[in-house]
């Protein structure tokens, strides 16, 4: 499974980006750079990741850094999948 591809598909879907996420790379900044990513959207992304990948995220695993870039988010998901 290609985690980055799945993560980008989820971002595109939840944030209604209409394909814009396909142009994102690992170093694309997320928090503060994508106006659609407000707190409601952050939670929707986490919930969708939990349901799509079948893991549960603990509260203390999350901080602002998790959503800093596409790469940090993908790395977080990869760690959860190990």
């Amino acid at each position: 499974m290609n985690t980055q591809k799945e993560v980008l598909a989820i971002l595109d879907e939840v944030l209604s980006l209409r394909g814009r996420a396909a142009t994102f790379g690992a170093d694309t900044p997320l928090l503060g750079a994508i106006p659609e990513l407000d707190s409601m959207a952050v939670v929707s992304v986490i919930t969708t990741l939990e349901e799509r990948f079948g893991f549960a995220v603990e509260d203390d695993e999350l901080d602002g850094q998790t959503f800093e870039t596409v790469g940090t988010l993908v790395a977080f998901v990869d760690r959860k999948l190990q």
């Binding site: 209604s16 919930t47 349901e51 509260d59």
Partner: protein, 278 residues
Amino acid sequence: MSRTSAFVRQPFFLDSPRGARFAVATQPVGAPIGALLFVPPFAEEMNKSRRTVALAAQTFAELGWVTLQIDLGGSGDSEGDFGEADWDGWQSDLSDGWNWLRERCDGVAILWTLRAGSLLAADWLARNDEQPPLLLWQPVSNGSQHLTQFLRLKAASEMLAATEAKGLTARLRAELGADRIVEVAGYRIAPAIAAGLAAATLRLRDGYRSPVALVEVVGGERTEHSPGIAALAEGLRAARTRVVTEVVQGPSFWQTLEIETPPTLIETSVRTIDQLRR
């Protein structure tokens, strides 16, 4: 089922000892062939999904089904404040909606849920002597995890503000446990609602008599269920319940930023309720 393009949408208030409950009945022009009681999702997901649910109810009505949507106490346009709502009251609201439908339609009656509506419905089924067919859209299986996901909204806003968000949902749960109201994303969450939600799980009695349809909306090109829904289907089958599963592609309309509707969700559901009727 033959299709007409006629239906009647009737908004009204359903009186209850707990206060007036806003409801919308979407009905066929002639006598209904069956009824659906819609059990809404929790908090903001109800608002996000209103349009899709209304469109589906309209299509069902064109095919002869009557649907009742009810705003649970303290939510939507019903009487009361969300912060004063309680889980038992919501259970009674469902009973009132169910009875309203039963008085008007003697065909099959289906419980139709979205997201955490599945938890309310499962609890209602455990308390009442009914085993209707179930149409579960994107069901939530675990109320405690769902509550955590909701409380996380607050943690996310703190995260965005770069303040300390770690452990925040645990602290909010402790507040609720101490019988205090917490405020998350503009919703005042009362301990009585949080406790009911956290204790709820999507479990049906063994050998549940009627079929259960699980309809999951997935993003991208996927055609298989996510792990949670697959496990749910397996558990129900192991308990000797007939399960119908469907995957439709499209946006998760109960949470997307813009109001959207997955293109094939309604058509798939039409086919599904026809199966549930048999």
